[in-house]
């Protein structure tokens, strides 16, 4: 059973069409939940860290929220340059300081 599950696997949006990406996790003892953006052939680029349920963080058109067992990455009025794979990762007590990643959501935004 995967410890971190992201949905959908792929998402196609029109420019300006807002949507949300989901990350759910089964682990206990969460220390932090991380969102990264990854462009093809590149390493993940840090977006946000969330630590406790109810926490929200924003950056430009992106807003991340955290509940007890899932996180959402809301994308408002996306642009073509927002096209990328968005990765969610958790850090939890039993896994020490390692990041446990989901498989990612590949977002395509067309103009």
């Amino acid at each position: 059973e995967d410890q971190v599950t992201q949905s959908p696997e792929a998402l196609r949006l029109q420019e300006g069409e807002s949507s949300s990406l989901n990350c759910s996790y089964t682990v206990s003892g969460l220390r932090g939940l991380f969102w990264y953006r990854q462009d093809p052939g590149k390493g993940p680029e840090f977006l946000f860290t969330l630590y406790s349920a109810g926490e929200e963080k924003e950056k430009e058109r992106l807003k991340a929220t955290l509940t007890k067992k899932e996180s959402f990455l809301h994308i408002t009025a996306p642009k073509p340059e927002d096209s990328a794979t968005y990765l969610c990762a958790v850090q939890f007590n039993q896994a020490g300081t390692a990041l446990i990643f989901g498989k990612g959501t590949t977002l395509s935004v067309s103009s």
């Binding site: 390493g43 680029e45 860290t49 990765l87 990762a89 020490g96 300081t97 390692a98 990041l99 990643f101």
Partner: protein, 114 residues
């Protein structure tokens, strides 16, 4: 301010050979972690180094080994390469005392085993 740098960017090796990948952490960072990312998958944790010691290891065989140098740079060695070792290998750095705040990743080394 240089971020995490990895070399080489691409590498092709034959099954059974050995390979060494290199990583220089972001300026000031003292902790280096290595991840393997297969095509279409999320990165998987291999191991983490701090103060030249392996501090934590993921579920990878002993064929995968590493080293950290006094200047905090690191190497990942893989022996007896298998076709399944083909992947993007990512290096991530951070401060040991701020590991809960996330990591900075490099662009990776694309390893192809033929």
């Amino acid at each position: 301010d240089a971020g995490v740098t990895q070399s080489p960017t691409h590498l092709i090796k034959t099954r059974g050979q050995q390979v060494t990948l290199r990583c220089s952490p972001k300026s000031g960072h003292d902790t280096v972690s290595w991840y393997q990312q297969a095509l279409g998958q999320g990165p998987q944790f291999i191991f983490q180094y701090y103060e030249e010691e392996e501090r934590q290891r993921g579920n990878f065989p002993d064929r995968f080994s590493g080293h950290q140098f006094p200047n905090y740079s690191s190497e990942l060695n893989v022996n007896a390469l298998l076709l399944g070792d083909s992947a993007l290998y990512l290096c991530a750095s951070s401060f040991w005392h701020r590991l809960a705040h996330g990591y900075t990743f490099g662009s990776g080394t694309r390893l192809t085993v033929v």
